[in-house]
Symmetry: C2
Subunit: 156 residues, 2 copies
């Protein structure tokens, strides 16, 4: 059993713990035949918001996991700024979600798999707020396999 | 009286007509002490969705005029793609809204004032979908004055 020291939120253990929570969200999306992407937002070592991709279900491109999590976290915090929060998301945010993260001034973004085609960093890394810290590659293989398996099954 | 030939949706007259509808939305935002930005989405010469900035009111950065209009239009159309639609918005879309427009594949975006600081084109023009046509500067002075007056009053 791995001991998670929640005093060190930035530790690899805690990051993997919360990324697993994001993966749980991604699995909920997969069950709905949505591209499996999930997100959680953490404040003071506690998950305060969750979201999974619902673009198809809601016929709404704005229903990405991160967007729903931002709205939900702001509701919890009672304000639109999330400087004290960390977003965990299974896939590198797209331009829309990265643009939203800029407005929230979220303190940190931790993502799993890289999205070479539609990830924000393929467009301009400064889309992210200058005070937002980025950590990538947490449980990358698991996060990446989720997406790859989904599209492989689709092609069959 | 100006005659609007609605058969020519791309005509300056029609663009100004629909931009005035977007300005009406911006004025609704201003009444709520929100940054005055408004949007409408037009399908077959008819306004099918409206939105105005509600970021402060809802404590939610994702509540930009365009985002609400996209969600509403997709709901009207019954699908998430808006290739046959035109978005009219008083200010150049930010990265988040431009990123959302990419996913909708909206046919055309017409905006009023340029946003040199936060407009998507300051980051990367290819954020916009390659099949989305862009028209800028429609009723630019009116759209720009709305924003400038708002911030001038705030500074007083």
């Amino acid at each position: 059993m791995t001991y998670i020291n929640f005093e060190e939120e930035n530790s690899t253990g805690a990051d993997e713990y919360f990324m697993r929570e994001a993966i749980k969200e991604a699995l909920k999306a997969r069950e709905l035949d949505e591209v499996p992407i999930g997100a959680v937002i953490v404040f003071k070592n506690k998950v305060i918001a969750r979201g999974h991709n619902l673009s198809e279900k809601l016929n709404d491109v704005t229903a990405h996991a991160e967007m729903q999590a931002f709205t939900s976290a702001s509701n919890y915090i009672g304000g639109k700024y999330l400087q004290q929060c960390t977003l965990y998301v299974t896939l590198e945010p797209c331009v829309m979600c990265a643009g939203a993260s800029f407005w929230t001034q979220v303190g940190r973004i931790v993502y799993g798999a890289k999205d070479d085609k539609r990830g924000y960093s393929a467009y301009n890394s400064s889309i992210i707020h200058p005070r937002t810290e980025i950590t990538s590659g947490v449980l990358e293989k698991d996060c990446s396999a989720l997406i790859k398996d989904f599209f492989q099954q689709k092609r069959r």
